[in-house]
Amino acid sequence: MLDLLGIVILFTIVAAIVAIEMRDILGVVIAISAVGTGLIIAFFFMLAPDVAIVPIVVEVLTLVILVKATLRPELKTFVGNRDFFGLMVTVAMLLVVGILGMRVFDGLPRFGVPVFASAPNTPGMYYVTNGLRDTGAANIVSSVILDYRAYDTLGEATVLFTAVMGAIAIIRKTARKAPSEPEVSEWQD
């Protein structure tokens, strides 16, 4: 019983395998953007336009960065796995966990019948019912991320800020100096 969504996810899985196993780095980058595309289509199918719009733009940026970071003429491509024994152990372990997980996943509420709609008193139901009245935002997702759970969004903005600070710190030209030397600018322009 595969519907359209299932096919999209299967496509994503295939693209992911290709991305991980491919030899050519450019191919890897293209395959990973196919994974992103699959994800976006799946989000649209699952009625999450707010979510879908973000990966679309993020995907473009990531793609540009990955292409620029990885594509250089002198880059040697290679197929590399860890040693054979470790590989087999890892694969066996993952298979066991995966098969176990699949059996166990039957315990989840059936797909398409989320618990928030059936169980009494869930926050999700409250937001859908009272979101507009409480916050004045017609987009309930907006009212969740910027009002009910705005504290999370502050954290999210901070994560991005931290990543930028970290990237600047990692990329900076000189990291160490003698104690007597003055500070140097980290911008190389």
Binding site: K68, T135, A138, S142, F161, V164, I168, K173
Partner: protein, 160 residues
């Protein structure tokens, strides 16, 4: 894409990019401003704004950027965006505005706005704007760091 930083791509690409940048900027601003009514919001809008500048750099090299848009300024905007967001959250703690961290004081204490209208949802659009500033500058900065500054540092910096 080999010529980055030395003038960019062909004139056709550069001219098109020049025309496009206005549209992309307006579209980004729209996504930010209507984030509380339609899909989108500060994050998506911020990325689109960043992409407008990324496109300029990709097409025309660094020289095509406005002179004042130095990386230092972008980094400062990044901090400022974060501070504005935190400031809006802290404003809610003032006694007259509800006295709670992240209080949506515009709706709950000042009662401004009508549903389905641009002026609605209280602090949500304000937060969207601050997030857009933050995200746009963060991502643009990440792009510049990872793309253009690569290879500037040399092996001599390494002290074993």
């Amino acid at each position: 894409m080999a010529g980055l930083g030395h003038g960019g791509m062909t004139p056709v690409v550069r001219t098109t990019a020049g025309w496009m940048k206005g549209f992309i900027l307006v579209f980004g601003l729209y996504i930010v401003a209507y984030g509380h009514l339609t899909p989108g919001g500060g994050f998506a809008g911020g990325v689109i704004l960043a992409l407008a500048f990324v496109m300029l750099v990709l097409a025309g090299g660094r020289e095509r950027l406005p002179r004042i848009l130095s990386l230092e300024l972008v980094a400062e905007l990044d901090s400022i965006g974060g501070l504005i967001f935190l400031g809006i959250a802290m404003l809610g703690m003032l006694p007259g505005l509800g006295g709670v961290f992240f209080n949506n004081f515009v709706v709950k204490s000042l009662h401004i706005g009508t549903p389905f209208h641009v002026v609605s949802a209280g602090i949500i659009p304000l937060c969207n704007i601050s997030i857009a500033i933050k995200v746009a500058s963060s991502l643009f900065l990440l792009f510049m760091l990872l793309i253009l500054l690569r290879g500037v540092y040399t092996q001599e910096d390494t002290r074993a």
